[in-house]
């Protein structure tokens, strides 16, 4: 019995389904008639439109921005007109409606402005970061954290290593794989720019070993760059998780509840690196991204370059439509992606995959009670006990759920994937997390209210004192002349 050298404890080998799309060149989506740009971001930040309804917009024009750098600006992916700003169903699984800018497209593919190439070596790190911020780039791996903010914080934390995530461990998804095969040079240029922005010494591009061609292409692209190295890591879900990639590449572990910058490491996705290249080199904002369209229900699975804000239905239509009924549409990968409420929702910057899954591909409903088989414990990459967390979440015992590791959970779904009773463990965790968040904000609110009340009481007390003092002063002032008057009266 040999113990295989695992880069980290736990993890699973889900069935990949990557063969559906991995050998097809990235296609460009036919220019869509209408685009729907969400004015509310994933992190809740709201943007304000800078354009009036009815105004003409050009490709690359800044359309909306927020009040801070956490709200990344939105740019027009097409030439056309702002038709309306209205409530449109968002990709959120609950089908919430959010305020969207509706653009019509005149089909002209040219950029509105001349984007002269610029040599990043002439720029200061601050200038590079500003360009990334202005381009509205977010992490394209799925979390959608503003990249400019990330770079700035990492620069302040003095990171020494930039780790480029080419893990793509989610089944079905091949957009990063294809990008590495087809645009290796652009990715590597983006990496060089980020290195300069960070002031870091080295960059390591980590790719899962099931992507041989991507590794070969990336190796070619970095050939004469001593600062950048390439590392093949075992394919093991969730290799794309920041913590696990760092462990697999450097052997070091990020302590629970801390950020990787503590180790002097920053992780960015390959697609993000390419977006940085376009932003810095050509001052081009992030207006499109590669999306994998896959699943057994799709006629012709493949990868597409899609303008931000395109309806999901158009992506599927371009790949030949559905050949059988899709039991579920998913935005993202099947492990961590979200179910889509309808095909008529727009994609955003964070969506890297659109899956149309048939009934046979889906996880069925829970079939048995937990038999404590421990499969979830073995699968958990964070070393938690998912079945205990779920049992306590089920009875709303949040402190116990936290005791068993709820706060450290990645929601990666490895536990639920292997559960023979098909218990929806992740749902329990999301539910528990939601409740804990609500409690936390409630506590913050009441603490804030308490502070305000205390401040008010303090102010009232101060005012009362001041009044008293003023009264006393007045009284004493009045008294003295009165006495004087009395005295003088006496004299009279």
């Amino acid at each position: 019995m040999f113990l295989s050298a695992r880069p980290f404890a736990g993890g699973i080998h889900p069935k990949g389904f990557k063969e559906l799309t991995e050998d097809k060149y990235i296609d460009r989506l036919d220019s869509p008639d209408h685009l729907y740009l969400n004015l509310q971001q994933r992190n809740g930040a709201k943007l304000v439109s800078l354009v009036e309804v009815g105004e003409t917009v050009f490709k690359g024009q800044l359309l909306a921005k927020g009040s801070s750098d956490m709200a990344v600006p939105l740019h027009s992916p097409v030439n056309g007109k702002l038709e309306a700003i209205k409530e449109v169903t968002s990709p959120h699984p609950a089908g919430l409606k959010t305020s969207c800018m509706v653009l019509s497209n005149n089909g002209d593919p040219r950029w509105g402005e001349d984007h002269r190439p610029c040599d990043f070596r002439q720029l200061t790190p601050e200038q590079i970061i500003q360009k990334v911020l202005d381009a509205g780039i977010v992490g394209l791996g799925g979390a959608a954290f503003p990249t400019g903010v990330k770079l700035r914080l990492a620069r302040q934390a003095k990171v020494h290593t930039l780790l480029i995530n080419g893990g793509e461990c989610e089944p079905y998804l091949t957009c990063d794989d294809r990008l590495m095969r087809e645009q290796a040079a652009e990715i590597v240029s983006g990496v060089q720019m980020m290195l300069k922005a960070l002031g870091a010494q080295q960059a390591i591009i980590a790719v899962e070993d099931n992507k041989g061609e991507a590794i070969a292409m990336m190796a070619d692209a970095i050939a004469e760059l001593p600062q950048i190295s390439l590392k093949s890591v075992p394919s093991l879900y969730p290799m794309g998780s920041e913590r696990h990639l760092i462990k697999a590449v450097t052997g070091e572990m990020v302590p629970p509840g801390q950020l990787s910058t503590k180790l002097g490491i920053l992780v960015n996705n390959v697609a993000t690196a390419r977006a940085v290249f376009h932003a810095v080199r050509f001052s081009r904002p992030l207006i499109e991204r590669v999306i994998t369209v896959s699943g057994a229900a799709v006629e012709e699975p493949g990868n597409l370059v899609v303008p931000i804000g395109t309806l999901v239905s158009q992506l599927i239509a371009q790949r030949g439509g559905l050949k059988v009924d899709a039991a579920r549409l998913v935005a993202g990968g099947p492990m961590m992606g979200q179910a889509l409420p309808s095909p008529f929702v727009p994609t955003d910057k964070s969506i890297g995959g659109v899956l149309a899954l048939t009934e046979s591909e889906l996880r069925q409903e829970q079939s048995h009670a937990c038999v404590r088989c421990g499969s979830c414990v073995e699968a958990c990459p964070m070393g938690l006990m998912p079945f205990q967390m779920a049992a306590y979440s089920r009875v709303s015992d949040w402190p116990q759920a936290q005791h068993f590791g709820l706060d450290n959970c990645l929601l990666c779904g490895a536990c639920s994937y292997v559960c023979p009773s098909k218990i929806p463990l992740v749902q329990y965790f999301q539910h528990a997390r939601g409740n804990l968040n609500a409690q936390r904000s409630m506590r913050q609110k009441s603490a804030h209210a308490r502070e305000l009340t205390q401040a008010r009481q303090l102010r009232l007390a101060k005012e009362a004192e001041a009044k008293k003092a003023a009264k006393a002063a007045k009284a004493s002032k009045r008294k003295r002349p009165a006495r004087r008057r009395a005295a003088s009266g006496g004299e009279e």
């Binding site: 492990m335 899954l357 996880r363 048995h368 038999v371 414990v377 990459p381």
Partner: protein, 330 residues
């Protein structure tokens, strides 16, 4: 609500199912059970049938009374309990004793705690211990083997095989002086519980479970170590009063316990560390009971005692949270 449940990620699944798990375990037990029938004849078959039937029937009845889906009585868990109990009984056990034990295992051992997944003790072992205490005579009535003869292409079934005129004998654990050969111990051609004698078939079935990743090898290895280490030392010091390590491993229910009983999913710890402690504890207790106790066999007691310790083990021996041993903790 059920629709909402299905919408949560992950949207894909490995395709394993609890029912499949149970039937695979049962299938891996079948060769050893078949060997039992070969050696001990029709009475063994009757014990097997009555245990399994009683287990499934009582499961069905309980599910019906608890207003659960009664079809779950065929999810394999009750069948497995019945099968395991039967294999740990002597072939001579009267059918009604076997059936009673099996019903007890399901009703008291499992359903009163809330059914599948909620039982703190291994139901089969609970049933066996109850029978051993209530029916000591029937439960220790070991029979000599009565393997059919295969001569001239004909199968000759002895009267003993047909259960008519069986010969009583002692199990190797009672009487070590009798000295069984290694071949007899391994093949199972010696008196004992009907499904426990053929160590080689149990071992093969167990290895199949490990290979199919139904069970992790931790508990079997730990149990055999926990039993083997003290046996080795004691036998080296005083070979007259202590059995050899091979004798301990290959006789009685040790092999069955290591791969099929102690590895019961529900009543064993879930973490790796916990499984080591659990397995070692089971092994050590088996050796202690066998060597010093008044009962010849200690598997059932050992497993039940360690089952009782499982919640404590699970509480204290948890896996390390990723990053908690990081060099960057400060």
């Amino acid at each position: 609500m059920s629709k909402m449940l299905a919408l949560a990620s992950p949207h894909t699944h490995a395709g394993t199912s609890t029912t499949r798990l149970m039937y695979i375990v049962a299938a891996c037990l079948l060769p050893a059970a078949a060997a039992g029938v070969l050696y001990f004849g029709l009475p063994a078959l009757i014990v097997l049938a009555s245990c399994i039937a009683a287990a499934c029937l009582s499961e069905w009845l309980c599910l019906l009374l608890r207003r659960h889906d009664w079809r779950a009585c065929m999810d394999g868990s009750a069948l497995l309990t019945g099968l395991l109990l039967a294999m740990s009984l002597p072939a001579s056990t009267p059918w009604w004793v076997a059936a009673f034990g099996s019903a007890f295992a399901i009703i008291i051992g499992k359903q009163v705690f809330g059914g599948l997944g909620h039982n703190p003790f291994n139901p089969a072992m609970l049933g066996r211990v109850m029978l051993l205490i209530c029916f000591p005579v029937e439960l220790t009535d070991w029979r000599a083997i009565a393997t059919p003869d295969f001569a001239d292409g004909e199968i000759i079934l002895s009267a003993a095989w047909q259960g008519i005129d069986a010969i009583s004998a002692a199990t190797p654990l009672y009487n070590m002086a009798e000295g069984l050969s290694l071949v007899e111990l391994v093949s199972g051609a010696h008196p004992g519980s009907l499904g426990e004698t053929s160590s080689i078939l149990i071992l093969l079935g167990g290895l199949a479970l490990v290979w199919l990743k139904i069970i992790r090898p931790v508990i079997p290895v730990a149990l055999l170590l926990g039993l083997g280490a003290p046996a080795l030392v004691a036998h080296l010091i005083a070979p007259e009063s202590f059995d050899s390590i091979l004798h301990h491993w290959l006789s009685g229910g040790a092999m069955l316990a290591a791969f099929f009983i102690a590895t019961d999913l529900v009543s064993s710890p879930t973490s790796n560390k916990g499984q080591w402690v659990f397995g070692l504890g089971c092994g050590l207790l088996i050796w202690l009971i066998r060597s010093f106790g008044s009962y010849p066999e200690g598997v059932a007691f050992a497993v039940l005692i360690m089952n009782a310790a499982t919640p404590v083990i699970d509480h204290y021996l948890r896996p390390a949270v990723f990053g908690s041993q990081s060099a960057h903790l400060q």
